[in-house]
């Protein structure tokens, strides 16, 4: 065996190779594109590895070693940074205090000045590399953890190569090629120690042979792998993984829906998930954990990636956001069936939007490709208009109880779209044909048939219409009972291409993107439509007066809602520190209040919630939107890739005539562009008057495709039947949950009971069971007890079970210590004894409790 160096019994090659590995990892940081590192990180890494080696060899006490390492590391890095920090002062001494203050500020969350960022990042990276180098050496030479020693620099290298703009796979190859001889030499050292303990002699030149052979292996392995095709895992497994991920997500959703249904209907208040779930509700708070997993690919000619809208929310609960549509919508129709508040649209069938929301907008079409199982929602870039796939559009509804609608040729288009056709027919009719059930009848029979047919259609949508007319036979008022959709108020859009409600490929979405400039928005006024005022001024009782006071204070001097929105947006961007690791607000606290006054940190959902609530507190309708902020353009895919990290929440404020306008209150995100030069392009928000009676009649009213089997009319109002059926009893969830807990508990109990019996011979397993049963009966085995003594003790304690216990012990003794072991007959008799014993278990436990 090789002659042992007292300092490096593992051979001098081990520290040399390890320090080289750390040096490579540190060098990867240096060239990894981390801004402009002002210190030689590679040198820091090598020195750290040397330091760790020396400390480990000196056998310094662990805690002292770590403390020393930290102090020396921070000291060395600080010194190196100070040497380069000319901007902090003339001499080194002058630079110390500014650097300290600067670090304190950074620690307190203040954004460093741009010219100081290099220092900060250099400092941080230097310390990280120091710690990696030190720990790699220390763990290997002090603890003998080879894997940790190699993995730490390896991990640092991978991180840098993964995020570096220019990948350098040769560094990884070099690391692998050096790590293999290192592992081989260290393994030999470990074996040599074993051989020394066993006093086994060996050849003296074994170390050199190990190094030669392991180097050959390293070259072979590195050559093989670097000639292999890259991306094989993606090609081979990515589709499988996506399918698996989709299935998993789908199953989770189904389970979630089932549980919600079982609880007696979905509730927006109960256990909402994070905002990234794009569900009907979400809770605010807790650390944000988003990955770089690609979610959506968007191809558009717009020249930049748009904000992708997934869901809007109107109800602020104090802890999160939810949709109020379910409460507003009467899900049980007069025919007894249950419907959801979604309308199904054919491919390319547009949502009829009124002039309230279409002013200053241009059509924009984009191609959306869901990735990674994200095909359960249709994304739009602003206000949704249509998609080239069949969709279900979730929107708000108005409940009408003999609601009068004044009707004339001028105001026909002001009617809800569902009533425009009947309105048009009545306006075209001479209603002098006598009084009918619903009102004066048309004089012409053909016209009356058309009216009756339309009334039947409306009846199919559970709308009852009657009307009155003037003495000359002209309709003047419609009276409507039932519920009608508010097409202007789209909350979310879902694909209905397949039975499972998911999109498998790409789809095109046409949206109306706002081009309104600041000047136009400032002139929009505050004449809000009724549905806007009803839904988007709601505030939770938890909203504190100081929140309202703050909103008023921040917007003091603002003359218009737009100015108010801009001031609040600016205030939040400047005041709240962006932090994805925020803590949950305390129970009972209002999230917005907590964010504004207590924590003053948060991420997008905190910013957007705060802005929406503050705007509402000022009486300006606002809502919170979730989706994605613009992704990066990918040359290979020819589109913008939206990753999970792009998931975002922002605020939309309503401006009459212009609809919902997005604001970006999140610090760090670029402000929404509203170019003043676009003022001239803004379409007038005023709806065009109806050109003629004919056009009024032929205007394509909102005509979602009938989805309910009960409704035959293909162009009828399209209430989508809900999966809820008649609902399930409310007790089902707690009982089912309890049952599940019992089943899981029983499973765990069974596992824990049988786990330690694995691999035991039958007689030993039965004896072990006897011991367990004995403990339940209060008979614990003594440390010096033989099995037979234990059986006697058991018999004394539980006389009725004594015979069975003795039989089990007798078979155990024979099997363990007898010359031939126990035969099948004996084992069977012991099994029978065990079953008898088990039957007496309740009595034993009862007896124990009684005594």
């Amino acid at each position: 065996m090789s002659r042992h160096d007292p300092w490096f019994p593992e051979g001098i090659l081990v520290p040399v190779l390890l320090i080289t590995l750390v040096g490579i990892a540190a060098f990867s940081v240096q060239i990894g594109g981390w801004t402009n590192l002002v210190i030689p990180i590679g040198v820091v890494g090598v020195v750290a590895a040397l330091f760790g080696t020396v400390i480990a060899k000196l056998r310094v006490i662990d805690s002292l070693a770590h403390l020393l390492a930290l102090v020396c590391g921070v000291g060395l890095v600080s010194f190196m940074v100070l040497l380069q920090a000319d901007i902090l002062g003339e001499s080194l001494r002058d630079r110390v205090k500014p650097l300290g203050l600067f670090l304190v500020d950074w620690y307190l969350g203040k954004r460093p000045p741009d010219d100081h960022e290099d220092l900060l990042i250099s400092m941080l990276m230097g310390v990280i590399v120091w710690l990696v180098g030190y720990l790699a050496s220390w763990t290997l030479f002090r603890r003998g953890w080879l894997l940790a020693g190699v993995a730490l620099p390896g991990f640092l290298l991978l991180m840098n190569l993964g995020y570096a703009p220019e990948p350098r796979p040769w560094m990884l190859a070099l690391m692998v090629a050096l790590a293999i001889p290192l592992c081989a030499r260290y393994y030999l050292y470990q074996r040599e120690r074993t051989w020394a303990m066993q006093r086994m002699a060996g050849p003296r030149d074994l170390a050199s042979r190990f190094i030669v052979f392991s180097t050959v292996i390293a070259l072979l392995v590195t050559g093989l792998s670097w000639r292999a095709p890259s991306s094989w895992s993606q090609q081979a497994f990515q589709p499988l993984f996506r399918e698996f991920s989709q299935s998993l997500t789908h199953t989770q959703e189904r389970a979630s829906r089932w549980l919600e249904d079982a609880a007696g209907g979905r509730s927006s208040e109960v256990e909402a998930g994070p905002y990234t779930s794009f569900d009907n509700a979400f809770s605010i708070g807790g650390p944000l954990r988003l990955s770089d997993e690609p979610e959506v690919l968007v191809r558009t000619d717009a020249g930049r990636g748009p904000y992708l809208t997934a869901h809007h929310y109107d109800v602020y609960t104090g802890r999160g956001w939810s949709s109020g549509i379910d409460e507003q919508f009467e899900s049980v129709a007069p025919n007894g069936k249950t419907y959801s508040p979604e309308l199904t649209f054919r491919a390319n069938q547009g949502v009829v939007l009124s002039g309230d929301v279409t002013g200053g907008r241009v059509e924009q079409t984009m191609e959306v490709t869901p990735l990674n199982g994200n095909g359960d929602v249709v994304f739009s870039s602003d206000t949704y208009s249509s998609a080239n796939i069949r969709t279900a559009v979730r929107m708000s509804w108005r409940q009408l109880e003999d609601e009068p609608f004044a009707i004339s040729r001028e105001t026909l288009l002001d009617l809800p779209p569902d009533l425009q056709r009947i309105g048009g027919l009545l306006l075209q009719s001479d209603l002098t044909g006598g009084q009918g059930k619903t009102g004066p009848q048309a004089a012409e029979e053909a016209r009356q048939k058309e009216i009756d047919a339309e009334l039947e259609k409306l009846k199919g949508r559970f709308l009852t219409v009657r009307w009155t007319a003037s003495a000359d036979g002209v309709v003047d008022t419609l009276y409507v009972t039932g519920q009608i959709p508010v097409y202007d108020d789209v909350e979310a859009v879902f694909p209905r291409e397949t039975a499972d409600g998911r999109v498998s490929g790409s789809y095109e979405v046409t949206s109306l993107t706002s081009t309104a400039d600041a000047a136009s928005l400032m002139q929009a006024g505050q004449d809000y439509p009724g549905w806007v005022s009803e839904r988007y001024l709601q505030l939770s009782d938890s909203v504190t007066p100081r929140t309202t006071d703050l909103a008023m204070k921040v917007t003091a001097g603002a003359a218009t809602p737009y100015e108010q929105a801009v001031l609040i947006e600016e205030y939040l961007r400047q005041t709240i520190v962006y932090d994805e690791n925020v803590t949950e607000p305390p129970p009972g606290a209002d999230v917005v209040d907590y964010v504004l006054f207590e924590q003053q940190r948060g991420y997008c959902e905190h910013y957007s919630s705060a802005m929406t609530v503050m705007m509402r507190a000022l009486g300006v309708p606002a809502r919170t939107v979730v989706g994605y902020y613009p992704g990066q353009y990918d040359e290979q895919d020819g589109g913008y890739v939206y990753r999970q990290r792009n998931a975002h929440a922002w605020t939309e404020v309503f401006f009459p005539g212009y609809g919902w306008i997005a604001f970006e209150p999140t610090a760090g995100r670029p402000l929404t562009e509203r170019d003043a030069t676009q003022v001239n392009e803004v379409t007038e928000p005023t709806p065009e008057p109806l050109a003629s009676e004919e056009s009024a009649v032929e205007t394509p009213v909102a005509s979602p495709v009938a989805d309910a089997p009960a409704i035959d009319e293909p162009l009828g109002p399209s209430l989508t039947p809900s999966d809820q059926g008649g609902g399930r009893p409310g007790w089902l969830l707690p009982v089912g949950g309890a049952l599940l807990v019992v089943v899981i508990g029983a499973g765990f109990a069974w596992m824990s009971w049988t786990w330690k019996l694995r691999g035991l011979p039958p007689s030993a397993a039965m004896f072990t069971r006897l011991l367990r049963l004995g403990r339940l009966a209060g008979v614990s085995p003594g440390a010096t007890m033989t099995p037979r003594e234990y059986a006697d003790a058991f018999s004394r304690s539980v006389p009725a079970a004594g015979k069975s216990a003795r039989q089990i012990v007798r078979v155990y003794e024979l099997d363990q210590y007898g010359p031939d072991g126990a035969d099948a007959g004996l084992l069977a008799s012991a099994g029978e004894a065990w079953r008898r014993l088990r039957g007496q278990l309740p009595r034993m436990i009862f007896r124990r409790r009684r005594t």
Binding site: L146, L172, I180, R191, P203, I217, L220, V221, E293
Partner: protein, 406 residues
């Protein structure tokens, strides 16, 4: 770095590569998988086409002697073997036949393992297991080579020249200095030949007369019968501190008794006397008196594994043997017990003119009770007493003793 940890690492990297679409990890995964495959193949090949031979210098030695074993490992494969760990699973204490070997293709490696045996008994040399693996320790492999020998270690020889061996009181006898070709010049009769009888005892004339092979029986020498009674009753035993080589084997009174008994038998047989042996314990062992070479082996094979077991008083043993003892016999009792209850039985033998010598193992200060009272009582009963002090007895045995009867 075991295969399990490496497997976990590869699986983790694979998941990360797939989930995060990280193509650079693919190469690393391939490298690690290739490493695992190479290591596995390496480990499978590392113990193939190996041969091992082992030879022992002697399968019978006395405690304190050195046993030599030669081992040869042959690599019949063309592939070199980077490291092979040869582990010996012998039951012989301190036997170091294990070794680490690195071999080229078609090469052999031989080595010698010398072990000084300290304890008597029967030991197994072997089997041997060979261990090897890849150079990174990812996979290990081992193979058991079930080659084993039995080694019998006889009791250590101690100096018993000072012990008086009782001779019979009958006249006409004289002790021979050397082991004679025949035990007695007086032919007592003829019997049928049995395999193993020496040729010089064949009576050719009687064979010619009877037409079948006949051998002569000789009269016993009146001075030759010596009965050795070893007291291996558990009550009289105790451990003794003794780490010295080569007498470390004498680490208990029991070992002294056995060693003294063996040495006396050795001496008596060398003088041509018939020697019988009684091992006194709960399950006593008795060997009839004989002066042949086979008797030497019988005695020493018995003593190699004799150990204290249960309690049986010396009185009982002496009384049981006294029926067979006559004036033609001498008795040597070896004991370490200070108990005096057997003195009357010994005295009775003396009164029947059976000479008795008591060898008393004197543990000195280590003993809980002094042996002097026993010694005095025996002297009073006209029993010849030899005290064998444990601390002094070693002196005579420091020189390797190896005069096995041949």
């Amino acid at each position: 770095m075991g295969a399990f940890k490496l497997g976990i690492l590869i699986a983790g990297l694979f998941v990360v590569a797939v989930v995060y679409d990280w193509s650079m990890l693919d190469k690393l995964i391939i490298a690690l998988v290739a490493l695992v495959v190479i290591a596995w193949i390496w480990s499978r090949l590392s113990l193939r086409r190996l041969g091992l031979t082992r030879s022992l210098s002697s399968d019978r030695v006395r405690a304190g002697e050195v046993v030599t074993e030669e081992l040869t490992l042959r690599n019949h494969s063309r592939l070199p073997k980077l490291w092979i760990e040869v582990r010996d699973h012998s039951s012989l204490p301190a036997h170091q036949a294990g070794r680490v070997v690195s071999m080229r293709g078609r090469a052999a490696e031989a080595w010698t393992a010398e072990t000084r045996v300290r304890h008597r008994g029967r030991f197994r040399l072997g089997p041997i297991s060979v261990h090897s693996g890849d150079p990174l320790g990812i996979f290990q492999t081992k193979k058991l080579i079930p080659v084993a020998h039995e080694l019998v270690v006889y009791p250590m020889a101690v100096d018993v020249s000072g012990v008086h061996l009782p001779a019979a009181t009958m006249s006409g006898g004289a002790m021979h200095a050397l082991n004679p070709a025949v035990s007695s010049p007086t032919v007592a009769g003829l019997r049928d030949y049995t395999p193993g009888d020496p040729l010089n005892r064949i009576s050719w004339s009687a064979t010619a007369r009877r037409g079948t092979m006949m051998v002569k029986e000789f009269d016993p020498d009146p001075t030759s019968d010596l009965w050795i009674i070893l007291d291996l009753s558990e009550g009289g035993q105790m451990d003794l501190p003794n780490d010295e080589e080569p007498t470390g084997a004498l680490d208990s009174v029991e070992e002294y008794i056995v060693a003294i008994g063996g040495s006396i038998a050795d001496r008596a047989l060398a003088e041509g006397r018939k020697v019988g042996l009684v091992v006194n314990r709960a399950m006593p062992v008795r060997l009839d008196a004989d002066n042949s070479q086979r008797q030497w082996f019988r005695i020493f094979e018995t003593l190699a594994t004799a150990n204290a077991f249960g309690d049986r008083s010396l009185t009982e043993a002496i009384v049981a043997e006294s029926r067979r003892l006559t004036r033609t016999n001498g008795v040597v009792v070896v004991t370490g017990s200070p108990e005096t209850d057997w003195v009357p039985a010994a005295s009775a033998l003396v009164q029947r003119q059976v000479p008795v010598t008591a060898v008393l193992v004197d543990a000195g200060p280590a003993a809980p009770r002094s042996i002097s009272p026993l010694s005095e009582e025996l002297a009073t009963a006209r029993v010849s007493v030899s005290r064998f002090p444990t601390h002094a007895a070693i002196a005579g045995a420091r020189e390797p003793v190896s005069h096995l009867a041949t």
